[in-house]
Symmetry: C2
C-alpha cells in the first residue's frame, strides 16, 4: 500500500540507490533528477522514517527533559518544538519530577528510543546523572543544557547572567534610596541561587551598604518557601524596606504572604520579583520584575542542537549567557 523508493525507482526508470541518493541530497544527472522528482510527485511518495532510522540509527526525534512542568519550561517548550519542526524533528517531552532515579530511567528510556539529541533542564540533582549525560555527549549525541550548567559537563549551554540580573535589580532599589534590602533566594547548593545571591551582595557592597544576616532568606525556589521567607522577614526586629525575590515561584508565595498580612506595596515594602508569567499580571499593584528571555533561550537551545545534529562541532562547546531585562511597574517606592 505505501509507496516505497522501489516504486519510485521503477516509475522513474532508475535504481533504488539513485532515488535514495536523491533523497539524501546527492546530485544526480539532471535528466534523472527530474524523472525522480516527477515520480515522487506522482506517486505521492513519503519516506519511511523507521526504515531510515533502522539503517542510520537515527529517530529524528529530540527530547526536552525537565525536572517539572513549571511555567518556565512550559513557556520554552513550544518555542523549541517550533524550531525543531522546521528541520523535521519531533519533540518528546519528559519530566523527571525532580527525582534522581527517574532522571536516570528517562535517559535510559530515551536512549533505547534512539533519541537524536536532548535539551536538558538540569536541577541540582542532575549532577548525579553526570555519567549518563557525559556518555551521551561522548557518543556524539548532542546535549544542550538550558538554564543551569552541570559542573564537570562540557557541552553547549544556554544560560542567563543571574548575578548581573540580581545586581541590577538590587541597584534599582538602591537608586530609589533603599538601604535596607532583603533577598529571598533559593537553596544554598543551587548554582543559580549562588549566582543570584552574588549579584545581591555585589550591589550592596558596591554601594557600601551593610548586609544583615537575616536579610538573606532561603526560599527553596518554591512557593511555600517564598511565603515563609516573607513571614520571617516581617517578624524580624529589623525589617527591610525593600525585598528582592529571586525566582518566580517564590514571588508568587511572597505576594500571597504579603496579601495575607495586609502589607501594602510599595508603601510599606518595596518589591521586586522574578520572571514574567501570567500570574504576575494579575497582582495588585503591578510588580516590577526581572524577566528572563524565554523565547531567545528556547530558540538558541534548538539552534545549537540542530547545529550539532548536522554534525557541525566546529565551535563546540558554546556556553551562551543571555541578559535579563527589568520591567518597571509600580511596586517600588522612592524614599
Amino acid at each position: 500500500m505505501p509507496v516505497t523508493i522501489h516504486d519510485v525507482a521503477k516509475h522513474a526508470g532508475v535504481a533504488v540507490g539513485t532515488v535514495s541518493r536523491y533523497l539524501n541530497g546527492y546530485t544526480l544527472r539532471e535528466k534523472n533528477r527530474e524523472k525522480v522528482e516527477d515520480a515522487i510527485e506522482e506517486l505521492g511518495f513519503k519516506e519511511n522514517i523507521m526504515a531510515r532510522g533502522l539503517k542510520r540509527n537515527r529517530s529524528m526525534t529530540v527530547a526536552v527533559v525537565a525536572p517539572d512542568f513549571s511555567s518556565f519550561v512550559a513557556a520554552m517548550t513550544p518555542v523549541i518544538e517550533q524550531e525543531l519542526e522546521k528541520q523535521r524533528y519531533s519533540l518528546i517531552t519528559c519530566n523527571y519530577q525532580g527525582d534522581k532515579e527517574k532522571l536516570r530511567k528517562k535517559l535510559v528510556f530515551l536512549k533505547e528510543r534512539f533519541v537524536d539529541g536532548i535539551v536538558l533542564f538540569p536541577s541540582n540533582l542532575a549532577d548525579a546523572s553526570i555519567d549518563l549525560v557525559q556518555s551521551w555527549i561522548d557518543a556524539e549525541t548532542p546535549v544542550v543544557l538550558l538554564d543551569h550548567l552541570i559542573p564537570g559537563i562540557h557541552t553547549d549551554a544556554v544560560t542567563v547572567d543571574n548575578s548581573n540580573a540580581s545586581f541590577r535589580a538590587v541597584e534599582r532599589l538602591i537608586l530609589e534610596n533603599h538601604a535596607n534590602i532583603a533577598i529571598i533566594d533559593g537553596p544554598e547548593d543551587s548554582y543559580v541561587s549562588q549566582e543570584r545571591l552574588k549579584g545581591y551582595c555585589a550591589a550592596m557592597e558596591t554601594y557600601n551598604l551593610p548586609i544583615r544576616e537575616n536579610w538573606i532568606q532561603r526560599g527553596a525556589f518554591t512557593r511555600t518557601g517564598g511565603y515563609h521567607a516573607v513571614k520571617a522577614l516581617r517578624e524580624s526586629s529589623n525589617r527591610p524596606s525593600a525585598v528582592y525575590v529571586a525566582n518566580y515561584e517564590m514571588t508568587i508565595g511572597a505576594i500571597l504572604a504579603l496579601h495575607e498580612m495586609h502589607v501594602r506595596i510599595p508603601e510599606e515594602l518595596s518589591f521586586i520579583g522574578f520572571d514574567h508569567f501570567e500570574a504576575i499580571d494579575v497582582v495588585e499593584p503591578p510588580l516590577t520584575v526581572v524577566e528572563l528571555p524565554i523565547e531567545r533561550m528556547g530558540q538558541l537551545a534548538a539552534e545549537f542542537l540542530l547545529k550539532r545534529l548536522r554534525g557541525d562541532y566546529e565551535d563546540f562547546p558554546v556556553i551562551t549567557k543571555l541578559n535579563t531585562k527589568i520591567t518597571i511597574r509600580s511596586s517600588i517606592q522612592s524614599l
Copy 2:
C-alpha cells in the same frame, strides 16, 4: 556493538524466532524460557524499537495535539505522559497555534512518523480537519478527544459537564441572594461556550430571574476578551451585582480590569471565576472558582488510548463527562 536477538538466540542455543516470540509474550517451553531470559540478562539485550516498528508499522509513540500550550494543556500533559510511560509509549507534543492549516500539517506529519495514537484538544476550527481525524479513526489509529467533542466524529472523548458547572456556579450566586448576574462567556460558535451559557440561562430560569441582554458578554476565551467584557459591564446602565466568568484566561483578564478600575471584590461586585491554576492563588481577594478535574481528565484520556492501542474496541466509543467542583473562597458577598 548493540546486542540483537540473534546474539541472544545464539547465547541461549535457540533460534531467533524463539527469542522474538518470547519477547512478544508467546509461551515457550519452560527450559527455553529460562535460557532466553538468562541470555537477555547476561548480554543486556535491548530491543531495537525501530526494527520492530519497521515490521509492524508501529512507533510506540503517541501525540498530544493542542491548539496552544495554555495552563490547561500544560497541566494535563505530564499526567498523560506518566500514564503512557508505564506501557513504554513516549509522548510527542504538538501545538497547532489555533491554526487550521497548521493542524492539518501536524496531523500529516504525525502520520508520517507512524504515531500510534493521538490525544487531541480540538478547538472550533478543528472541525475543518474532520476528514483527517476521521481517516485516523478509520485506520484504527486511536484518537481520544479531550475537553471538546468534534461534531460528526465518533471516537472516545473525555469532557466535562460544562452546562452543569455553570448552573452550579450561578446557583451559588443566586443562593447568596444575587439576582443581577452577568456571565462573561466565550465565542458563540464554540460548543463549550454554548454549554456554559446554557447552564447560566438554566439557573437564571430555574430561579425565575430575568436575563438582561447586556449581561451576556462575549470574551473570546482570551485574557483581553475578559478585560474588555468587564469594562463593558461596568460602563453599562444596569450593572450586575455579580459576575460569572466562564474560563481561566478571561478570569485573569477580568480581575486585571477590576483592579484597574478599583472595583472592590466582593463589596462592589461578587465574582466567580473558572479553573484553578497558579495565577488564581495570588489574586486578592481569594477567588471562588469552578475547577476542572485536570488529573482525572488526563488519566482517563491516556487510559482509553492505551485500551484502544491494545486492540480492545469492545465498548467503543466512550464519551466520558466528568463533573467539576466549586472551590469556595471569598469573592462572593451575601446580599
